[in-house]
């Protein structure tokens, strides 16, 4: 079904009765927000450090360390190196139920190093950069957890707060290994946020995704002397990618497929006997993705058959579509409404507009107002996250906060730029406040927890979550 058609089930947020409108914020909630303000200088320090480290998936040693150290200093019990990943950690405080888990990411993206300025210029040529804003993600979540810890410590809230440091979101899906190791098993409700170009109590979800690699093996030969005795593994890759591109016409418009060629031969002189393509396939639902993966598997086999090579098809990772919790979104939205817009300065708006000019998108600056709540269940825009896997195991609340110029390209230098200066900082602090306030609601109001949990139960009845990751430990790089 076309996504456009799918939408005709919409409901207007404004019309929905029973939206959790917190009339007057509780004392605890006001204190939580005040805690974030107190922590803001340290948050900025942490995010700027992580921004400068720019460590990619499973290499986030220093980034994880500064966060874990901060948690420890604040009195959390910290377990480092969980789920066989040196950069995964869990920081807990309190005891008993409810157990609220809040996730923090901190991995960077390769190849998009950028200065915090409005024109493209690498900080270090070829190096990694925080093109997805994860330098802000971890500190905001952690600060919110600290705010809750303070309230538990003060006896104002009961239960347990747990910060879950989740590495390698951009690559292998670190949360899957943490789920597999049971690190979310006793969590009642989980929260996460994400840097964005708008402020939103997310109800749109994210796409299901599978990451796989196809390796082709041929027969080496001197490419000039006797190429007829060789069979090029790269031929297999090229035919496979052609098949994928032909397939694009024959998939639903919601599908996304993309790949890179990670091994395309060593030297022209030798017919390559090994080549490898790495591919991601996504759609609105993991059931659809499963079918697409089978078609891609056939494409790989066909490409091998047609080029007299052999292929190996390996699923490396994958995420489900996000299970949106509308009850949770109502709570988040109410807190956003209470907090109001982010107060960006004129200079920050101008910085954003410069970036928009530079990248050729509409010159609209930064979105500072929370978006209206949209409670429609609808096809997600393109994009995936391993937070979505958590959402099928634990009821998960998710929000977005502006840290970048509207419509500026994501996973690209503009996001690195604003994430490394006051625009990103301001969004991070705001996110921490919404997270803290929302958690206060969950601790204080059992009926809100129950509504969140009931919706989750309803949607997952009879469902069995199945990991996309292969058996064995996570692929931690040796170096």
């Amino acid at each position: 079904m076309n996504c456009c058609l799918a939408i005709v089930l919409f409901l207007l947020g404004a019309l929905v009765p029973g939206a959790a409108q917190a009339d007057t914020p509780s004392d605890a909630k006001q204190e939580a927000v005040a805690s974030i303000d107190r922590q803001s200088a340290e948050m900025i320090g942490l995010s700027d450090q992580i921004w400068a480290f720019a460590e990619t998936a499973l290499r986030e040693a220093r980034s994880a360390a500064v966060l874990a150290d901060y948690a420890e200093a604040q009195g959390f019990a910290v377990e480092r190196g969980v789920a066989d990943m040196p950069t995964a950690f869990v920081a807990s405080y309190g005891k008993g139920r409810p157990i609220i888990g809040i996730m923090g990411e901190y991995d960077a993206l390769p190849g998009i190093s950028q200065r915090a300025q409005t024109t493209r210029q690498a900080l270090e040529e070829g190096a990694a950069g925080h093109g997805c804003g994860h330098n802000l993600f971890g500190p905001a979540s952690l600060a919110a957890a600290v705010a809750i810890k303070e309230l538990i410590a003060a006896g104002e809230l009961d239960g347990t707060i747990r910060f879950i440091g989740t590495p390698a979101e951009e690559d292998i899906g670190g949360k899957l290994y943490m789920l597999r190791d049971g690190l979310f098993d006793d969590v009642d409700i989980a929260l996460a946020w994400h840097p964005s170009d708008e402020i939103n109590a997310d109800t749109e979800g994210s796409q299901a995704m599978v990451s796989f690699a196809v390796e082709f093996r041929g027969r080496a030969a001197h490419a000039a002397a006797d190429p007829w005795n060789g069979r090029s593994a790269l031929d297999g890759v090229e035919l496979f990618t052609h098949a994928i591109n032909l397939m694009r016409e024959h998939v639903e418009p919601t599908v996304r497929m993309h790949y890179v060629i990670t091994d395309g031969g060593d030297v022209p002189n030798v017919v390559p006997d090994y080549a490898r393509v790495w591919c991601w396939v996504r759609d609105s639902e993991h059931t659809s993705v499963d079918k697409l993966v089978e078609r891609a598997r056939a494409a790989a086999e066909g490409a091998a058959l047609a080029t007299d090579t052999t292929s190996t098809f390996s699923i490396e990772s994958g995420s489900y579509e996000m299970l949106v919790n509308l009850e949770g979104a109502k709570i988040i939205h109410a807190n956003m409404s209470w907090l109001g817009p982010i107060e960006f300065t004129r200079e920050e708006q101008e910085f954003a507009r410069e970036i928009q000019r530079e990248t050729g998108v509409e010159i609209t600056g930064l979105r500072s107002e929370p978006e209206p709540l949209d409670l429609t269940r609808r096809a997600p825009d393109g994009g995936s996250t391993d937070v979505a896997d958590v959402s099928w195991v634990v009821p998960t609340l998710h929000l977005s906060v502006t840290t970048a110029a509207h419509d500026a390209p994501w996973h690209a230098w503009p996001v690195v730029a604003t994430g490394g200066m006051s625009i990103g900082h301001r969004g991070m602090v705001y996110a921490a406040k919404v997270l803290a306030a929302t958690m206060v609601d969950l601790y204080e109001h059992a009926e809100q927890r129950k509504a969140v949990e009931a919706e989750f139960e309803e949607q997952t009845r009879g469902f069995k979550y199945r990991f996309y990751i292969p058996e064995g430990p996570p692929p931690v790089p040796a170096d």
Copy 2:
């Protein structure tokens, strides 16, 4: 220049002992040549008619008719429509051994209609043309047969002369159906010639070839409304051809592979559920071609698998490589040496040079001298003929005669042009003379026949010819 050709710069001909150098031509031979001169006006009439008819494979109704009528008028017994092909015929005269068969072709090529002039201009846009000179081929062979018939009738030679009218050389390989029907079974020695850009007692042979079609079948769908429900058969074709092009790096330099897409969908609006590609594969030996065909078959299966379509792979026809008879070549060469060069006029040379200018090849005019005899056994240049299949069943002598500007593109307008005017005529008459003279030698000299036959026996010992054509009657078009 092809490396194989490049090497033929050493001339063994002069050194070869025992080359059949006819010291003084026999009376019969002189009379045979005189007969060709007498027939020349009628030969030109026949070839010009066939040139104008320009009938393609298995549609050569009028072309076959004028030749068969001429044979009948000369006293031959003519059997028309043999081997289930309306345009195949056999014209015989005489009785007893030896039985010498001489082949004549007369089919044109689609899409290369051309006037007899030095610049490209179609006689009729989109129509067929004699781009391989077969309008000259049939009349020259037939005139040579008539010359022999006259000598048998006069009691100067003993045995049987048989003109074999062989249609559809350019497409299905008409001679294979005639071989299958036993029409060559009692022939002792067969002869053929071919229009060319030089004069040669051919010792280079021709390539083995297989023609096959791959049909892909997918699933139709509205290409805008629900292309995701469709599977494009054309995708299968495109991936298959890509595989063939990738394969080119991994075949020997002697291989030729070429294809056309004969069905590529009806209207863009509909995802095509049927598409078809027609492909020829060639190499120096049919054993190699067989292997290449298996690789192409795997490419078709792989392309279908990779595009979620199905494929059908059908071998349509094929030819062996030519079995060169060196003893025969010596006889032919001796007769060429006796006859000397073709006397092209200054205007004809200029006509050829104009064509060479127009097509951007070296300006060398027409080759009028017979090439030196080269008795090396070597890889053939690109090209195939169903005469080669005859050569594995009957000892076959083959020669080439200049009818086109040197190096001008074959199967193209320049060959149509010179074949429709005096250049082609002059070559045709010369070819008829060489053929007639060579046949006189074969009738008169039993030891020359034996040498030819002994070489054939030696080379085919233990060999079993296997037809490439499918079972069932030839694919005569319905219209």
Copy 3:
């Protein structure tokens, strides 16, 4: 912007004031509906004839003739062969304003001949078939026009009714030539319907589309003897289509691009010097399509450059996106509500379910109830029509009526099957009634006409319609 996002401009039909709910149908409306019932046997006869003729674009000689004859017999003034197309005609009755035009199509699609049965079987192998239901389209529109003519003749309505016989919708866009010739210039409001798998007062519109051909020209050569002297025009086509398939990743999900290879070479033996691909590009708005066409043009130039061939890029036709008239949709929907559902028989429902089983879609039978009115402006599903071009020149009302099993593939045999038996007939009669009733409203209620026209004026202010068709007469086939 994603189409899903685009939609957040929605309006709830239920909330819209002033929906034209006709309390009690007027006498004229009731008589119009009775006229359709009276004409139904003749309508079925006409549609079955056109179904059997199955004439493709600009070859609809007999189909156009039976309709024009019927109009003439009913007292219309008929002008045949308008706009330089032998199969285009206009049938008029009455005088003065308003002038209501109603369009009728009657062209079939190549290659999908099918019997009126529940399994795939061609009536005539390889022949055309009415896979888009145009055999029903023309008769229903004409019958509605006749019903209005009767009321004008009876003095019950004032103005002019004009049936516009529009050929070649499936191919060149016949209506564009009729627009260019001014045949719609004096029409106040136009109507059209379309066979469908549901009943709908259409508010979704249709896609903008451009049809273009790319011809590649190379250099012929003997594919075995000297392919290195050739340049394959087919190489150009293959590289172009590869580029289009690569481009699919980099276009919005609303885009549709599809092509067929109409000329892919003659015989493998010759390097093709000519090849041609025919391509359609569509999107929600013609401004986007224009940009895509420029990218495709660059792809053609690049493919030619990369293959040492030349390319010619020719825009052959094109349509705008449909300008939806919501005021008109309200009138149509009110009439559908009054008429109620189509009463399909149990056998017809079973017939439809058989087809759904056969084609592997959900087994839901026929949709007999009108769909709820949806007044959202939104991205159209895939599909285009030259009715949309009319909609930018004249306010146009458009509806769909069930004539095929729900979700069965369009432009395919299931639509041919149901269009040739009582399911199609029943839909056709229903469509004629809705059209007739709606036209009665337009004649009787000036304020409804004004509302329709005002919406049109509002949306086209400052707009200049620009034809996608090339200069010169329509490409009427010679045979």
Copy 4:
């Protein structure tokens, strides 16, 4: 089998008058050969070290060092790091004319690490290996130079001997930088040999070659969120390689084109804005290669145009075809005839046959007899060397010596295997002897030098050698 090879079954060598048949070897020559025998243990030590180092182009630090050290220890004046390459060096001894230069290579090939055994097993997975036998090349040439040095030192020969250590043959063509720096300017005659599967006074030459890279640049975007805003640089690469593969049909059979994709994107998540393909093009003559490079350049431009990316085309290196010196070949062949066959042991022959079994080639063992001298000028087999560039500047003599199993794949593990054990050692020692003996002839016989030089003058008259390498220093890797 290549047709060119096939033809070399006629032996003109025996017929050639004036072949320099050294009736009785001079004392100097006998001493030179004895010197090689004396040095053999050290040669084996050097070659085994270099084999184990397996250092690739411009990283041959230790390999160059052990050779330079040996030369220095033998009394040569050694200049290291010449021509801006740390691993290039020149070792000279003697004074005055003639100056004979002898070249030595020592770079390995990436990715083909292999143990000295008959089945494929890497010494170190993924590491480099001596798949072209250059571990033998350097030591043999150097030992020959030492033998000459001893004779000069002993006053038996007059002139200068110069060992030229030439790095990076497999990659950038190190000799071109040395030519550019004038390091061959005063050399009268140069010599080189190459490990092979047969013993040959080479008269076949090598192919001209150009190495170029094409970099594509597109526009990054989130591959799921807004791929329509991205333009994939990898699309450019894929379309370019498709064009190259299409082009294969339209080049002469002597052409070789091969490529690897060195950069094919970082992560699937991001539309790659950079990708790079590295390509080599070869043919029998550099004039043809120049034309092919222009076609490839157009293919790159076309691919960029068609994919909305930009391309940069950079010629990185290139070699001319070898200018074969037939007079020199006669001298070499005479010395081979005098030395006779290599005495391989039964175990060595069995080792070679095992490799032949393992790689599926004909089981013929090692070729131990020198091949007959073939003085035909002919198209080279596939393969290139920067020795060929030297051959256009200085008269160059070149020979091949068996160091590998016949027909075993080159640039592959079998060559690494035999090069690391006694088979390779034996070939190396033999090569050194032929080189030494040939140089003795050149020093002792001015008329032989003159014949060599006269042939060179004749062939290069009016010729101006033009470097394929770009301006600027050689691309020495930073690490």
